[in-house]
Symmetry: C2
Subunit: 190 residues, 2 copies
């Protein structure tokens, strides 16, 4: 028997992506967002939804660019801080000690300490209600050499992204390898 | 030093949501999608992106509804199968043994075995390129009693959702509890 929770934005899992931008003065800023995901394969696009009240919202609208920064478990306090504070009142990079790096491809900074970084130029802006959905076309994905797997691509077990659980307001880590994709399901046909 | 991967739809983490619909004949169908996320808090909305070539795409367009089903690690083979097969050629529920339940709220089925289910009515359709982004307004969230935490809400450690790693084509589980949200970051200000 399933229990109903009504119309609530609850689903598992959601990410904790630090969305970084420059403000009007060129100050690097960032905010943690759990509302987002990949939304197109070609052109590769990634979406993040921000409330209009956030400082980052105006930065994306004016700069038409942002980066998505995937920080590791070891930076869970920094990720939480970037979701609590506002760039309107605080220099989050100065407080957190994280290092902004100017992207050479889009008008936004990325975080040096983030093992996985996605640089996006704004492609679409959709007003959905409390949140504005920004669709960013992915210009480049960058990853630290230390998090690459044997195949040369970012290995999630090394990136160790932080998962946000919206229903229990907690951060969780990535667990163990379960199965290879596009393979384990084939046995059901036998 | 970060290595560039170019414009690719790679970011961590992404979900493995089984998106369920009815086809024109009323047959229950579902497909696994990694491209999606929450996209608005009020009205609560959730987005999934599907290629136009998929059978589910036409079902959402005509029925204007879908459910997102979060299956547990124990169903990783079924989740993979729902991503491999097409409802155009196979009855995925019959093959997998999963049980479709007619939603009383939207014109779509959900999966009885999924501990967490989100019922959506189609609110917006955005053509982004290879993928169509369907924004669904969340009508209800349902969860099995067994996966509720002490606060009465779905606990991700009990739901045990499957995480998909797009860069390494693998499924991973949820790991350990790291920190409470909106709390651990405050210490950085001290």
């Amino acid at each position: 028997m399933k229990k109903s929770f009504g119309a609530k934005p609850i689903v598992h899992p959601t990410p904790t992506w630090v969305v970084c931008t420059y403000d009007a003065d060129g100050k690097a800023n960032g905010m943690t967002a759990a509302y987002g995901g990949i939304c197109c394969g070609d052109p590769p696009c990634l979406t993040v939804s921000l409330r209009k009240a956030t400082y980052s919202h105006g930065c994306i609208v004016s700069r038409k660019a942002y980066t998505v920064n995937v920080l590791s478990e070891s930076h869970v306090a920094e990720v939480d801080y970037f979701g609590i504070a506002s760039g309107r009142n605080e220099d989050k990079f100065a407080v957190s000690g994280l290092t902004p790096v100017r992207s050479e491809l889009v008008d936004a900074p990325y975080i040096a300490e983030a093992p996985l970084v996605v640089e996006c130029k704004l492609a679409h802006t959709f007003e959905l209600g409390l949140h504005t959905q920004f669709v960013g076309e992915i210009v480049d994905v960058k990853a630290d050499e230390q998090v690459l797997g044997d195949d040369g691509y970012p290995d999630m077990r090394k990136v160790k992204p932080i998962i946000y659980a919206p229903s229990c307001r907690a951060y969780l880590g990535i667990g163990s390898y379960l199965e290879p994709a596009y393979k384990v399901g084939k046995k059901l046909r036998d």
